[in-house]
């Protein structure tokens, strides 16, 4: 097919429309975003078909390569061990959190109340469309009950949060992206801060009080202050603490707990806490048990 030069009038119309689009985007950013989101709904459904096809090709390639070309049995064993390790890491973290929690007044009750309850399993089907954002595409969308701002985790710890959804897929902003911010707490000292991603593909705990005695090796978990994540999910370990002369706060670099480059399946937290009724029952149950002796 011949690609012909367009007429002057059509070209001028296109330029004017593009200019209008630019002006609208810059002058009315939120309205434009809403409009684009609205337009993106049906487009997302169309896009999901080739996306699923390419994703299955991608999985096929990696499965073939890993399972048949790169030593089938070793790979399977490694995957199983990796799963076990992730599970044990998660259990280990829960135990650490439990030990820390029992040392404080009534923390056990809160911990039980705030453990994650409702999650939705999802598969990673792609990476961010650009090189500029730490994002992943999941195969679950609004049709499955996924909403923006929901947290995404693995048994080992925090992965990120949902920033975009359409009917069949959603985009996760990883914890290592500079645009991400999660409320975190140092497990040992209970100092709170904000975990932000860095341009180096790691994360950083900011706004640690100046008098805090945090040190390299301390573990950071979610504080549960925001509705996205429940308390006590592992974020990572501190690798380096920075305390500059004249600064009001300390900051520390975090090595994320989850290997974000090797994710296949994740859990989306659809409801971070037990529903109100069951939490209330649990509270009454524990209070009742306490009164007995």
């Amino acid at each position: 097919m011949a690609i012909s030069r367009s007429t002057y009038g059509t070209r001028r119309l296109a330029i004017v429309l593009f200019a209008c689009l630019l002006v609208a985007l810059f002058l009315l950013p939120s309205q434009s975003q809403r409009l684009l989101q609205y337009v993106g709904g049906p487009l997302g459904q169309i896009l999901s078909v080739p996306l699923a096809a390419f994703s299955s090709v991608d999985h096929g390639i990696s499965e073939t390569w890993n399972a048949y070309l790169a030593l089938q049995s070793v790979h399977e064993e490694n995957r199983q061990l990796h799963r076990d390790l992730e599970l044990l890491k998660g259990q280990n973290n829960q135990l650490r959190e439990s030990v820390a929690a029992t040392q404080r007044y009534e923390t056990l009750l809160n911990f039980k109340q705030q453990s994650p309850s409702q999650t939705l399993a999802a598969q990673v089907i792609g990476r961010d469309a650009t090189n500029w954002y730490g994002g992943m595409i999941l195969n679950k969308g609004e049709g499955d009950g996924v909403r923006v701002e929901m947290g995404v985790v693995t048994p080992a710890g925090v992965v990120g949060r949902i920033v975009k959804t359409n009917s069949t897929s959603s985009v996760v902003l990883l914890v290592t992206d500079p645009n991400n911010a999660i409320a975190g707490v140092v497990q040992r000292t209970r100092d709170e801060g904000i975990v932000e991603g860095t341009s180096h593909g790691r994360a950083r705990l900011k706004y640690i009080p100046l008098l805090s005695r945090v040190q390299a090796g301390d573990r950071v978990v979610t504080s549960g202050l925001t509705g996205t994540f429940p308390r006590g999910l592992a974020i990572g370990g501190l690798t380096q603490v920075e305390k500059s002369e004249g600064d009001l706060f300390q900051s520390a670099e975090i090595e994320p707990e989850v290997d974000l480059s090797k994710l296949d399946e994740v859990l989306i937290i659809t409801a971070p806490y037990e529903d109100a009724d069951s939490a209330q029952k649990l509270l009454q149950e524990i209070r009742g048990d306490r009164k007995k002796p």
Partner: protein, 166 residues
Amino acid sequence: MKFLLYLLLALVVVPFQTTLLHYFSIFGVRPDLGLVAACLVGFLGGELDGLILGLLLGCFQDMLSAGDLWINVVTKGGGGFLAGLAGRHMAHITPAVLTAGLAIISCLSSAVFLYSMNPAGIDEVWMGVRSTVLVQAGFDALVGAGLYLLFRQRWSDDRMVTEGAL
């Protein structure tokens, strides 16, 4: 018809970019096939074609990216349009010119992304330039030149036919 062709191209390029292109990344950076496609079509087909394809690709890329919903629409649409303007003023497009043009447009596009990230200081800007902007510009230019060389015969035939018709 041409719009449908571009729609089909966008529906192939964007899912390929998000699912399979990581196998071809260098230092964790992948070429931006959307930008390359929009620029190639712009260079060879004119600014309107580049703009339309760029807007389509940008729209789809924005849906599968964690960034704001406007950024790919603007950079890909603008890239295709700029490439069309550049192509209009060239009597003869050579691979070298195309490579340089793609590298420049890729740098401009990356600059918009870098600006939108609100870098904390000059160190972060420089870090972004070294780690992503330059690598991606080189990658985009090479992929674009490769595609051009691969399909040069067909494109030059189309161009001659079109220009003859005009």
